[in-house]
Amino acid sequence: MTADALEAFARELARARERWRHLVNHDPAQRTYGLLHHDADVMAWLICWMDDHDTGFHDHDGSAGAVAVIDGAVREDRLRLGAAPLQRVVRAGESFTFGPADIHRVRHAGRRPAVTIHAYSPPLWRMGAYEVDSSGALRRHSISYAEELRPLSAA
């Protein structure tokens, strides 16, 4: 799926309230996720954010993505070397895309809890999670998407 098609797909899902209304569930301790769609080309999730929930810097290995904000706002940081991250705040009704090569971080922004649709094509599989070690070196950990999108606590 092209970036434009993926963004259109996410925005269309955002408008289809009956598809995700029952999955809206805010938890102060962590983001919550609901799988909305999965086929050979695309996988889509509803994510609920509050209280500065933060993904940390990560990439999506071979997948591109699109995010459509339904309610509230999220802040995206694009990682840069030798400069502060490029920041943008994305509000309800807006959307943005990223490619497999992009490294970013998404955080809840503002006081109002946020609800977002995330579409990935090809379906998300592996991800890279980044940490900065004590020497300042950037380290990439290869993780399954399940480690990012599935909760550790009892369902």
Binding site: L35, A146, E147, E148, R150, P151, A154, A155
Partner: protein
């Protein structure tokens, strides 16, 4: 509750019933121990000394789960015996399973030559608290075979109980092959055939049935591109009612299945005592929680706790 959906256990009543038989499937005592005779496999020595129920219950906890579901081993071929012959072994299996401690639940098995009787048997076993029905993959080997067992699948759907598709029966004739041969050829092919047969007509006829395939269905959904190229139905690879248990596989194959069907369709199964389960930590903590706790709860429903 964390669950292992696939174990076997040679309970005393089951061993006694198989030892009463003169023809395969049977167990026999020889000077060098207990042996299992199957029509299509080389004789196999049984380690009954390690089948102590207390030891097996302790292993459930050591594996990091709270309960294991035991099944009659479909390669034995008990389900396809003459109904009277089958009844003796099946009654012994269910009696042995029902007497196990709280660490265990069990899948029911029914005689498959007399399907009218089998539906009644299944209803009775589900009422007794068995988790669902275990069918040999051979009973679902073609679309026509899936139609034949439709009364059983209807009964499961009515009771909101799952189906467990297990490899078997053993190939009909013994070949001059090493002991691992059936597990890597006949059983993988049999699981593929059952998965495709359910995709072809099973899902349409049984829209609410939940099914778990043993051994990741032999990786059948990984053939996604070939299914598309040959005009097969793709939807089953993304069917939220189809689950895959992980026995005999490790992180590489599990990751490959995650890539196609998604983590939400995989459930932990060990196939003890036939094989040892993989190191749960190597899979990743969130993946392990999904495989052992969240996904079995969706597969089994209320039966996860009651089994």
């Amino acid at each position: 509750m964390r669950i292992d959906v696939h174990q076997h256990l040679w309970s005393e009543p089951l061993v006694a019933a198989l030892a009463r038989r003169r023809l395969p499937p049977r167990v026999r005592r020889a000077p060098d121990g207990w042996w299992l005779d199957l029509a299509g496999e080389p004789p196999c020595q049984l380690e009954l000394s390690s089948e102590d129920v207390g030891r097996r219950a302790a292993l459930v906890h050591l594996d990091g789960v709270d309960r294991a579901l035991v099944a009659l081993s479909s390669p034995l071929g008990v389900e396809s015996l003459d109904p009277d012959e089958a009844a003796d072994v099946l009654d012994a299996f269910h009696a042995g399973a029902a007497a196990l401690p709280a660490e265990f639940g069990a899948w029911a098995s029914v005689p498959l030559r007399d399907l009218d009787g089998a539906v009644g048997e299944l209803e009775r076993r589900l009422a007794e608290g068995f988790a669902g029905l275990c069918l040999p993959a051979g009973a679902l080997a073609t679309p026509a075979a899936v139609e034949r067992v439709a009364p059983l699948l209807d009964a499961l759907e009515r009771r909101e109980a799952p189906l467990f598709v297990h490899p078997g029966p053993a190939p009909a004739e013994a070949h001059d092959v090493p002991p691992w041969w059936p597990a890597l050829t006949d059983y993988v092919e049999g699981l593929h055939a059952a998965w495709h047969a359910f995709a072809a007509i099973g899902r349409r006829a049984h829209p609410r049935l939940t099914v778990v395939f043993a051994a990741l269905a032999g990786g059948a959904p990984l053939h996604l591109e070939r299914i598309a190229a040959r005009g097969g139905p793709l939807a089953s690879a993304f069917d939220p009612g189809l689950f895959y248990e992980t026995s005999s596989y490790g992180t590489r194959m599990i990751e490959a299945m995650v890539r196609v069907v998604g983590v939400d369709q995989l459930v932990h199964g060990s196939d003890r005592p036939v094989v040892e389960p993989p190191d749960a930590k190597a899979i990743g903590p969130a993946t392990w929680e999904a495989l052992a706790r969240a996904n079995p709860a969706r597969l089994l429903g209320a039966r996860a706790l009651a089994a």
